[in-house]
Point group: C2
């Protein structure tokens, strides 16, 4: 532990100050010169520490202004895998179902009201600064959050970010996402109803059904438009997913 570089130690000290609330997200860090004196190190080490933190998406350094603490929500999260739409949807079907099942028994009325709001936004019945897509993200993330389990929140959030990247790259996925707005509302409502009833098992089923239909839609889309890659992956996995579906 003693063989780590100085700038690494400094970075950790800064991180502690951030996490302990001394420097909340959005706030500005003291200047490099101040921090150098405070930590008893050279300015170079502070600089290197801040550069490393910036590379990790924890800070944003503005020339002539200062280093600002970034909110954890917009952390880019390095190293997400490139993942095809089918396998991603499959993974979400499994994991988000468990997320919903775990959330069901302990979800609060406030959170349920929040979810209702997101559904309204998605259907366009309520105007908001959130886009329908962002409301969709918020819907799933909020369920994950109500599990009170940070690992689950991380996983659900990561998969949404993969979806965003995948949607940028692949037309099929985007088309399907756009086209399924009609089904989406009903399915989200079904999930919500299960949560309102605090029915863990129903929540799992509803969430699985939500993504299962998305997979079907992807399959159709991949047949219409000859996206070989998607088609191959889809047919290869179809049987086993439909198999495991029955086992829940």
């Amino acid at each position: 532990m003693a063989d780590q570089r100085l700038y690494h130690k400094v970075a950790n000290q800064i991180l502690e100050l951030i996490d302990s609330g001394v420097f909340p997200p959005g706030s500005r860090l003291p200047g490099e010169r101040d921090l150098a004196e405070k930590f008893g190190v050279s300015r170079v080490s502070v600089r290197e520490a801040e550069i490393a933190l910036q590379a990790q998406g924890r800070l944003e350094i503005k020339v002539g202004s200062g280093a600002y603490v970034l909110d954890g929500s917009d952390m880019p999260l390095n190293g997400l895998p490139k993942v095809g739409p089918f396998e991603l949807t499959e993974a979400r079907a499994l994991f988000e179902a468990e997320s919903a099942a775990l959330a069901a028994p302990i979800i609060t009325d406030e959170t349920i009201a929040e979810l209702e709001n997101y559904i309204a936004i998605m259907s366009g019945k309520v105007e908001s600064e959130l886009s329908p897509d962002e409301a969709d993200a918020a819907f799933h993330n909020t369920i994950a959050r109500s599990t009170n389990n940070h690992a689950i929140m991380f996983v659900i959030d990561s998969m949404w970010k993969m979806r965003t990247e995948a949607a940028q790259l692949q037309r099929v996925y985007k088309n399907v996402c756009d086209k399924d707005s009609s089904h989406r509302e009903d399915e989200h409502q079904a999930i919500l109803n299960a949560l309102i009833n605090r029915d863990s098992s129903a929540a799992r089923r509803a969430m699985r059904a939500h993504f299962t239909r998305m997979i079907e839609a992807l399959l159709e889309a991949s047949e219409e438009e000859a996206y070989q890659e998607v088609k191959r992956k889809a047919s290869e996995s179809r049987s086993r997913f439909l198999l495991t579906k029955q086992l829940s």
Copy 2:
């Protein structure tokens, strides 16, 4: 684009050299002094560039040796949340169970042989360059890999990395992990048997049981040693986990 920092430009130049194959993964970069001269910048700028790339997991800098290009496979993945041992185990119970259930119908005999080998390594019956802990990681990662789903592989791998970080920080977790070696072998064998039978449902159950016992062990440990934080989180979530367990 012209207002980016120098070290950022240098980092991009280095990245280009890496991606173009001039410096393949595993190779060593020229020294900071050489690169500084080559790029026509100061050594500090090269240093800052390499530190940023290291923070992004593209390089590994070894003191007195040099900066080495990292393979994409062992990128450390930044931005992992700090997660308590209980919630992490809970998440793994849910997600790894689904991973195993999905893998069961399509796992190959080769992969099963691989898993057998990892179990043998963990029990010490076979000597290997892998530590028991690394074999444990390989066991779970291999199951995830056999799902053929990159999103699932990512999630399982991420959670193992969280575990590693958590174990460094929290004694309880580490103690439990060390003590459960005895149960571990039987449970892993049970999982493997389910996979051999291609029994999706049994694989799910076995995997859940594996982590459920770990949670019980954590609960005991947190009572013995008065780790308030763990204790609180555990008791708060215990009921709902045991609840959802029955619903599978």
